[in-house]
């Protein structure tokens, strides 16, 4: 057909491509852009504090912190919670006039955008905040995949990024220097639950060896959960046996086949990692099928009001859960202050989402104050060295470098009672109730 012509055309195309690629600018181009220093950038109605490069010694009139959150889209419910946490932190700080940086008090402002639960949007909005709005630092968005994508933008632009929204260890395993996370890894969640289970096993309340059915949502969160359990089981040398290890897709509908596999396996412990809708769906099908296990857990889910409403108190009784924080920790000290302030502002009790977002903001504030400047490098170093009194279990927040700057602290384990409560049963120093194992409901057969 047109073979020769085609050959000529493709030859020409290839040649021009090679020629052109040889002279793409930016090959010599080294560093990325300077923040907000180039002409033609359209500030979107923000008060950019001027080019960082020039004002090394000066402080801006106002410190601007950028953030995006999923305010619409699949994660909008929790995105809204994080917004509440952030806003409370900013409000409380500004009540005193702002941050004490050096010898000045500078007010601080949050520039919050909606990333609609979309990774690409989260990244480009972060870039916009950094390069056009000229923010001094970023607070993270919510949900692991968004954080994992967005944190790259912060790292590339060398801006401190503090987040309470991404717990997967894969985020912090990349050797990034500018990304800090105050959510302890999910593997620790699994480990904490297994530790309590081990105590029960040693007390003779659970069989030895105990058979475990692990069912996990196929996300980073679920994978880490499964890994935490398998690692613990391996280390325990024979006290446990994993008889089911299956993942499922988010927003599943019919778990009947999966549940019948679990039932057929004869497991003693049913350990699941799921989001709220799957928790409700699966637990409903579980109870309807008349299933029962000595220990039931849905990872970080358990005491949610929505679940109680959908399943009834009996339907969620004795379910174990482990979270990063719980309002019952707020008996005294800064915890109590936080709970009081939150309840005063929002007229409801805070949950862990509020606490971690609040703490992420507070960590950033503390770092800026300790650094005595808004220079990115200084703030980053302050974050790396941070040791802050904290709401989070353990009482102190640090970002250890060995863990990729992801905070490590124990989780609080709760268990639902048939009366509708959910006391903390572990660790002992935070416990407000006694855990029960094996599950009394199963004794009825």
């Amino acid at each position: 057909m047109l073979t020769r012509k085609r050959q000529r055309i493709s030859g020409a195309a290839l040649l021009s491509l090679l020629l052109l690629s040889a002279c793409a600018p930016g090959q010599q181009g080294s560093e990325p852009e300077e923040p907000a220093a180039t002409a033609g950038s359209e500030a979107a109605g923000s008060e950019a504090p001027g080019s960082e490069a020039d004002v090394a010694a000066d402080l801006p009139d106002e410190i601007v912190v950028g953030a995006t959150l999923p305010l619409t889209g699949e994660e909008s419910r929790i995105g809204g919670f994080y917004k509440e946490g952030y806003e409370l932190a900013f409000e409380l700080e500004n009540e005193d006039g702002g941050l004490e940086v050096g010898d000045q008090t500078v007010p601080i402002r949050l520039e919050l955008l909606d990333d609609t639960t979309n990774q690409a949007t989260a990244v480009s909005l972060a870039e916009r905040l950094i390069t056009q709005n000229g923010v001094n630092a970023l607070l993270g968005t919510y949900s692991t995949s968004l954080v994992e994508a967005q944190s790259t933008a912060a790292e590339q632009n060398q801006i401190p990024y503090v987040n309470g929204g991404g717990a997967a260890t894969s985020i912090y395993a990349r050797g990034y220097q500018w990304v800090f996370g105050n959510l302890a890894p999910i593997e620790l969640l699994a480990e904490t639950e297994m530790t309590w289970i081990e105590e029960q096993q040693e007390a003779g309340n659970l069989p030895t060896p105990a058979k475990i059915a692990v069912v996990w949502e196929n996300t980073s969160h679920g994978k880490d959960f499964q890994k935490g359990i398998t690692d613990f089981v391996e280390a325990s040398e024979g006290d446990y046996e994993i008889v089911v290890d299956e993942s499922f897709e988010l927003n599943g509908r019919d778990f009947s086949a999966l549940l019948s596999e679990v039932r057929a396996s004869g497991a003693d412990l049913f350990m699941v990692d799921a989001h709220l809708p799957d928790y409700i769906t699966m637990q409903r099908q579980y109870t309807t099928a008349g299933m029962c296990h000595d220990v039931i857990t849905y990872g970080a889910r358990g005491p949610e009001a929505d679940a109680r409403e959908a399943l009834g108190d009996e339907g969620v009784a004795y379910i174990l859960s482990a979270v990063w924080w719980n309002a019952q920790l707020g008996a005294e000290g800064i915890n109590k202050e936080f709970v009081d302030a939150f309840t005063a502002k929002y007229d409801k009790e805070p949950e862990w989402y509020h606490a971690v977002s609040y703490e992420a903001a507070r960590a950033l504030f503390t770092a800026i104050q300790e650094a005595g400047s808004v220079e990115p490098e200084a703030v980053r170093d302050a974050l790396a060295a941070l040791e802050m009194e904290s709401l989070l279990p353990g009482g102190t927040l640090t970002f250890p470098e060995e863990a990729g700057f992801q905070a490590q602290y124990p989780f609080v384990v709760q268990q639902n009672t048939p009366e509708g409560e959910s006391p903390i049963i572990y660790p002992e120093d935070a416990a407000t109730g006694e855990g029960v194992a094996p599950n009394p409901n199963c004794a009825e057969g």
Partner: protein, 356 residues
Amino acid sequence: MRTLRQRLPEWLTPWALVAFLGGLGALYVAPLVLGTGAYLHNLMGLTFMFVAGALAWNWVGGYVGQISFGHAAMFGVGGFVSARILLATGMPFVVGWIVGGLVAGLFALLWGHPTLRLRGPYFAIATIGVGEATRLIMTYWEPFTGGASGVSLPIQGGVNKYSLYWYGLYFMAAAVAVSYYLRKSRIGLGLLAIKSDVEAAGDVGVSATYYQDLMLFLSGTFVGIAGAFYASYFSFIEPGDMFGFQRSISFVLMTVIGGIGTILGPALGAVIFVILQEFLIASYPELYLGMYGGLIILIILFEPLGLSGLLVRIARRAGYRPRGQVAGGGVGSAAAGGPAATSEAETTPHMVEEKT
């Protein structure tokens, strides 16, 4: 002494060549001359990639006339293959992109060859099946995609994000050039013939299978390269985002809104898509789904040729007369406007192409 017109291959007009080189040159120097901020600069690079991807989708959607709701499969395959290659070897990223694209193209051929026989919406439904099955299998195939955790590319030593603008530009230029060539050349004629009457085309030696496979392969390859670009741009990809239904839909949206079957159309659609995404969504995030939906409804009902068709109509009103019917344009067609008459075999889905 032959004139320029005589030197060029028959499908390439001097006007088109000048426009092409001129546009390319202008976009090449724009950032250097205008000094745009980093945000806009990067955004434009990404837009170039979307334009190329939309154009590539259009080769199957518009030129062949088969709507695909599963192009995310190639996008993802290209992205992950490229990412894996770049991680495993130290090759220049362009190589990774091209290999990723070719693998994606082959993948497209694998599922596309048997399914392209299907006519009407059955092909579209099949592509939905392919897209979703690919997503699920890839999410499960952890060694390749990293499972739900995805794959991260290193930032240092990776591609310089600043220069991605120009690579995106070349990529887009290539896609435009290929689009133009496919439309104006004998291949375009062949496609027209197939759309009008498959059997008659076969009688004169125009093999539907060959042409469709070629289109699918090219489309898959370019969309795969787009995926590879995306991976290098964000330095992090994960299967849910790359292979998701949303991703597939975005190609359809861009091309339909812009104008299916043309060159200007997908380009315009991609630009609008990015603009909507970045700027309107920031102001009215609660309405973006409705905006897309509303746009599509309006376009299907009133201007099936999309926004580019609208522009042509306006231009016509203003007195601009398009040059006569060029080979490859205007399939069985009404002029711009209105659902086209369906004189062909009832089984052929019909997309009207604009005259240049």
